[in-house]
Amino acid sequence: MSDKKCKLLVIGAGPGGYVCAIRAGQLGIETIVVEEKEPGGTCLNVGCIPSKAVIHAANEFEKAVHNTTDNALGIRAEAPSIDFSKTIDWKDGIVKRLTGGVSGLLKKAGVEHIRGRANFVDGKAIEVTTSNGVQRIYAENVVIATGSQAVELPFLPFGGKIISSTEALELQKIPKKLAVVGGGYIGLELGMAYAKLGAKVTVVEAESHILSQYDKELSKPVEKRLKELGVTLHTSTKAKGMSKDGKSLLVEADGKEIKIAADKVLVTVGRRPNLSGFGLEDLSMKMSGPFLSIDEKCQTSMRDVYAIGDVTGEPMLAHRAMAQGEMVAELVAGNKRVWDKRCIPAVCFTDPEVVSVGLSVADAKAAGIEVIKGKFPFVASGRAMSTEREDGFVQVIARKDNHEVLGIHGVGAEISEMSASFSLAIEMASTLEDLALTIQAHPTRGEALQEAALGALGHALHI
């Protein structure tokens, strides 16, 4: 195959890579993206999107089950059932629509997608093993967007019963007993979903509380809901491996060994960057821990080689990768850009959902900033009452001296949709007064933001 040349070569078509490629194409940059699978990366294929589909199905099923018992609304339903293979087909359909959509967008932007696995020859040349042979590509600029994968525990290697989140979204049958190792957001999202679908779920967390990256206040309503759903929670508990007969997960708490019977063991103990196996090691790039070290323009230690997304570290979130990708495309086009984002929202799609934007109280304290805060619980919201979900709250944290909003956090049903206003408020450099003086539609859950800001100013109206 004859060699190819391009101005921009993007390795990996996940949310970071495909956004970078689309924007570069729009800017008239000759761009090639190399991806061995369907575009969309973890997010579209085996992450954000399919998991939200399964969670939605679980919620719907749980509602139906809920209506078989005596309930406040007086709805009577007969025992519902679920054809889970059909659910998975429906989920796959959504994934297909989205990956197809991304392919279309890449084509529309004039980006060439070469299907295959990339291997670095040097910093500006790669070889792609395609179905038609090896294709060599020379590029002026290279973007490493190879993403991440689930961390495997040596004593619980993936395979058979032991699954990662990827397999958990492809199960053809709902497991009767599911053990989840790791009480972070991925484990809890999926664990709760399967609990709602009828599995007997046990969550094992090594830390003293679940969702350890969040304040306890935020995780408490989730913990409560876990109990309601019948999920068994073992905190400060370490997984040790499978029992000899392979029927149970062995864990250890307070020096005591416990056996947890499980059909499937879902291991969600974090993700690690995909940085090995494609010749990158030979380039001696500067690292930052296990991640590629980047500057404020996503440039690596090698000239005109950029890195975006999960390979660049926490937070490993699709929307961060997308913003980095967009910025890099602009930089390659010669435009002035710099990473100056004030916040990256983090959403946890548990039940209830958790949103965290900007600094926490602890962060502010660590930075030596004196803060004031205001909190509005949904128990005081008419909308929350009338949708039977009064759990959770919105909290606003601001600088004491000038009322600059530093962080907005919340937990509650469908609070993920409120993250838009949270992020906007912080990115626009709002003050408490800005939030307090903005009219929010009534009756909506969004009123909680205004009320929390009013609360921080000392004059909440509805509490």
Binding site: K336, D340, R342, R399, D401, N402, A429, T431
Partner: protein, 429 residues
């Protein structure tokens, strides 16, 4: 006695803030009604602000160079006048928001107040009553993404920009002010910072400028230039010129140019190869008997080259008159076409800006050009002592395809000899 505040009056339509450019008073000064307190600069003009009463200045609002909002307090005056001005409030506006750490002016002073040095206060620029919170070192400036992006593209370091929005937030209007300052300097005089200027202006090249550009390209692309710079002692020729000018009557004043033209006429007699056109496309050189001296002339529109025809048949006086007529016509744009073409050799002079040396571009298809540099008095070693002499360099370029370096050097030496001994020009050799 009471203390009143004189507010910065509305100084013009649409003006919301002004810069203090001069104080006519300081704290402790006694002023009379209508005395000028300060001069302020709007974007349109400088305006003087008069006092509205007699009294003693107890407080001034800002330092020179700082920006004040219209309607904010300019000075506070202790007065016994019965003027209809509200008394200075005990809560000065700026203190409404907590973070300001400035010394508050003493309100309602019953006794003379000691002059208090005002600390430099960036928040004085705020047209709103909100104060700019002091930003700690390393803390990101408070601004929306659009403002940050605009600043980045415009080369503005937002850490240097005073934010007038709530909590010191930098608004689009704050950036407008920075961009409106064409020097790129923002901030007050004691906090001067510079921004990168990133504007670009495209100027369409057409008309005369385009012609000049084409001609210069042609000459520079085709002709391999050799340039020789030589020093000429013009003391004698300057004495002669002074004498002739002293007795000139109603004749035009002689500049050095007619002499150089005359010297050229004399020099090409022995160097006819210099007074020529090289038609490189056709492959021949045409030598001319007559000398048509092109005189490179600067006009408002650019460089043009009027031609003194038959310089060999003109006295220095004739040449001077012709030069005067031609350059006037050239500058006024009334020169005829044939007055601007047909030169056989060109003289270029930048007069007092003539520098030490130049590398003149030949007026294609000519083969030589003589550049005249600046005349200066320099010490000259005459063998026994230093004597002051009027010295001038000539920088001449030749078409190296036709003129060899040796011949060029000989020609330049000939010119030098003629100019240093002007009698030779007029006597013939």
């Amino acid at each position: 006695m009471k203390t009143i505040a004189i507010k910065l009056p509305d100084v013009g339509e649409g003006v919301t803030e002004v810069e203090i450019v001069e104080w006519s008073v300081k704290v402790g000064d006694e002023v009379r009604e209508d005395d000028v307190l300060a001069a302020v600069l709007t974007d349109k003009a400088t305006v003087e602000i008069p006092s509205l009463c007699d009294g003693k200045i107890t407080w001034v609002a800002a330092d020179v160079g700082e920006v004040l909002a219209v309607g904010s307090d300019l000075v506070r005056i202790e007065t016994s006048d019965d003027v209809n001005i509200e008394e200075a409030s005990s809560e000065p506006e700026e203190t409404k928001t907590p973070p300001k750490a400035e010394a508050n002016p003493e309100p309602k002073a019953e006794k003379p107040v000691a002059a208090k040095p005002m600390v430099s206060k960036p928040a004085a620029a705020a047209p709103s009553s909100s104060a700019s919170a002091p930003r700690a070192e390393g803390e990101a400036p408070l601004a929306s993404p659009a403002v940050r992006h605009r600043a980045l593209e415009g080369g503005i370091d937002l850490r240097q920009v005073v934010g007038t929005g709530p909590a010191g937030r930098i608004t689009q209007a704050d950036l407008d002010r920075v961009f409106a300052n064409p020097t790129g300097q923002i901030g007050s005089s004691n906090n001067l910072i510079r921004r990168e200027l990133t504007g670009e202006t495209d100027i369409k090249i057409n008309g005369l400028r385009k012609k000049i550009a084409e001609k210069m390209s042609l000459a520079n692309e085709r002709i391999p230039h050799i340039t020789i710079v030589e020093e000429v002692d013009v003391t004698a020729i300057e004495e002669l010129r002074a004498k002739l000018n002293a007795d000139r009557g109603d004749k035009p004043k002689l500049t050095l140019l007619p002499f150089i033209s005359a010297a050229l006429v004399e020099a090409v007699k022995t160097h006819p190869e210099m007074n020529a056109h090289y038609y490189d496309d056709e492959g021949f050189v045409r030598r001319f008997e007559g000398v048509h001296a092109g005189i490179a002339t600067m006009t408002d529109n650019g460089l043009i080259v009027p031609v003194v025809r038959h310089a060999e048949a003109k006295s220095v006086w004739d040449t001077a008159s012709e030069l005067a007529r031609l350059s006037t016509a050239a500058r006024e744009g009334t020169a005829k076409r044939d007055e601007l073409s047909g030169s056989t050799i060109t003289i270029t002079s930048l007069g007092p800006l003539g520098a030490i040396a130049t590398t003149p571009i030949i007026n294609h298809p000519e083969v030589a050009i003589v550049g005249v540099n600046k005349m200066v008095v320099r010490p000259h070693w005459d063998g026994a002592e230093f004597v002051p002499r009027k010295m001038m360099n000539i920088s001449s370029s030749f078409d190296h395809r036709i003129i060899d370096g040796w011949d060029a050097a000989v020609f330049v030496q000939r010119l030098k000899t003629l100019l240093e001994t002007p009698a030779l020009i007029f006597m013939g050799s």
